[in-house]
Amino acid sequence: MGCASSKQFKRAPRHGDAALLAKETTFSLDEVKALYELFEKISYSIFKDGLIHKEEFQLALFRNSNRKNLFADRIFDLFDMKRNGVIEFDEFVRSLQFFHPDTPMADKIAFAFRLYDLRGTGSIEREELKEMVLAILNESDLLLSDDAVEQMVDQTFKEADLNGDGRIDPDEWKAFTSMNPALLKYMTLPYLK
């Protein structure tokens, strides 16, 4: 069972594990240790098992453990790399590094692409974009007619879907975000530096 314990940090990360994370991510050893404190605070907020559950994540993000949000769900799902319904410390650190100010833009672009590729098909479909537009309007209590929503999605596709096949593929996404870098502002957290 020796190797299983290296995947989960029941207590503070062993020096070796933290050092490995520091080596393999943008973070320094001290930063990994600081992240552990944060991780501990979140992962012991409700279930006290050293793993971040969806409710704990929502509590940390919105100060409300019941607040459902499509985008927070997407972040959670990508952070949960092993797809076992919880975020472990290792996953937490490896995922947060995408938000580090020093992480190359290309990596952030790719991460955002996966966020928006809701069904994991390798491209962002029109339906997915519409679903996300409806979600953000709902989140902000904004009302828009269905026509206006359709128009907006069409317009965005006109700009981003260069070959007009109804899907935004990774290359088109790179081009689109390169022209609109402000789209990825949320991918950089100054706190991490």
């Binding site: 943008t26 944060l38 979140i42 940390a60 993000l61 919105f62 100060r63 949000n69 499509l70 985008f71 927070a72 769900d73 997407r74 972040i75 947060l96 938000f99 100010p101 020093d102 190359p104 833009m105 290309a106 990596d107 672009i109 928006y116 974009l129 996300m132 537009v133 979600a135 953000i136 309007l137 989140e139 902000s140 209590d141 904004l142 828009l144 007619s145 206006a148 128009q151 907006m152 999605v153 317009q155 965005t156 981003a160 290359d171 790179k174 081009a175 689109f176 390169s178 022209m179 609109n180 870098p181 402000a182 789209l183 990825l184 502002k185 949320y186 950089t188 957290l189 100054p190 706190y191």
Partner: protein
């Protein structure tokens, strides 16, 4: 995860065409394993970003992947100046002088900011759709030291016809004087229709340049001859300076000094991260409608993406450095309401299309509070107004926004989110 170069794609971006130039080809590739730009290059790019001159191709955005730097440059659509000579022969003296004025203005402006071109040549002189000269690639030659060490690559890159003798001698040189030399060659070519120093044999060419024995064609006026002789002085220490060129009688004819450009609000944040600062273009365009906000921009505002909330609990009750509200009024109404609201709050307003800059008239804790605001169209019936603090104290911005939004309460429909501005 590296971005594959796709050279020369041109996208229409919000009524302005810009060209992504992948400087891949200019030797801008960082050695593998370097995650960030070395400090020096970063500083150089930051300087380039501050260059805003009507005769210099503007650097809009900077992005970096693991191995490459991407620069989004102003798209100049009029082609190269030298196409004119190729197509219609030499230029008249007055026309040549007009371009030379613009060239000297551009070079002088960049030098004053510590940026040297070092590679002025016909390919770098472009014309915009109004026929104004635009110098491109300013400062970029500083990034290709490898090309210089590798003689083969260097000669394969282009002709040395425009290069100053001290540069060819490779003795270490003054970028200012070297740029002046290249300007002289360019002026000569414009008026003569051919190069002052030219030979198919490279060694012979080097000798011609080193000797700098220039003979002007008979149609050059005396004034032009004198100026060209003083520029094409092989000794960089005695060569005419830009300050002296500005005083030259031939040069001064019809000379209009350039208008100074404001660059107080140039954002350098994209040099560190990526930040949209495509505001303040040199050509003020009139637009019928506000910029429309694309679906991804709207989505990116979700609180679900705001992972900063995980870090600073105490930050959550505070207004951020930027905020926004939605309105169902027309953009014109929104603009005039904002303007009205600014008066009583003691703010000056500068307006351009659907963007405004608000500046406090009192000096606060960290200088004048200044705020940039822009109206975006989400849909014809829904507009989003963004406010961003561009200078001054964040707490003052907070209280400004409180007063401001109460002045505007009849046009504000929804504010950004429920977790802020308590």
């Amino acid at each position: 995860m590296s971005v594959r170069p796709s050279v020369g794609i041109v996208f229409p971006v919000s009524a302005l065409l810009i060209d992504i130039w992948l400087l891949y080809k200019s030797g801008l590739i960082m050695s593998a394993g370097h995650l960030f730009l070395p400090f020096q290059i970063k500083r150089e790019i930051a300087t380039m970003k501050l260059i805003r001159h009507p005769n210099v191709v503007q650097l809009h955005e900077v992005m970096a992947s693991k191995s490459k730097i991407y620069m989004v440059l102003e798209f100049v659509e009029g082609g190269e100046l030298f196409d004119k000579i190729v197509n219609s022969g030499k230029l008249g003296e007055d026309e040549a002088r007009r371009y030379f004025h613009q060239l000297i203005n551009a070079v002088d402006y960049c030098h004053s900011r510590g940026v040297y071109h070092r590679d002025l040549k016909p390919e770098n002189l472009l014309l915009d759709s109004y026929g104004a000269l635009k110098v491109s690639d300013f400062g970029l030659s500083a990034f290709s030291p490898q090309t210089k060490e590798d003689g083969l690559l260097h000669t394969a890159c282009g002709t040395p016809n425009y290069v100053a003798p001290e540069v060819l001698a490779d003795k270490g040189y003054d970028g200012m004087a070297a740029d002046v030399w290249s300007c002289g060659i360019i002026l000569f070519v414009l008026m003569a229709g051919y190069l002052p120093f030219d030979d198919p044999n490279l060694m012979t060419l080097y000798k011609l340049i080193a000797r700098a024995n220039v003979s002007c064609p008979p149609w050059f006026s005396t004034g032009a001859r004198n100026l060209i002789k003083r520029i094409l002085d092989p000794n960089p220490h005695t060569r005419i300076t830009i300050a002296q060129i500005l005083e030259d009688e031939w040069f001064k004819k019809d000379y209009k000094p350039p208008q100074s450009e404001h660059n107080e609000d140039v954002s350098l944040e994209d040099v560190d991260a990526a930040f949209d600062s495509s505001e303040e273009h040199l050509v003020a365009e009139r637009r019928e409608k506000p910029e429309s906000m694309n679906a991804f921009a709207l989505i990116s505002r979700s609180e679900g993406f705001n992972l900063g909330n995980l870090f600073e609990k105490e930050m959550m009750g505070m207004v951020k450095r930027e905020t926004s509200f939605a309105s169902q009024r027309t953009p014109q109404e929104i603009m005039s309401k904002i303007e009205e609201a600014c008066g009583p709050l003691g703010f000056n307003v500068r307006k351009q299309n659907y963007k405004m800059k608000l500046k406090g008239d009192k000096t606060g804790r960290k200088g004048h509070l200044s705020v940039a605001t822009e109206v975006f169209e989400v849909a014809p019936t829904l507009h989003m107004v963004e406010l961003r603090k561009t200078g001054g104290d964040t707490l003052e911005f907070h209280s400004f926004y409180k007063n401001f939004s109460s002045e505007l309460k009849d046009i504000v429909w929804k504010t950004e989110s429920n977790t802020i501005a308590k």
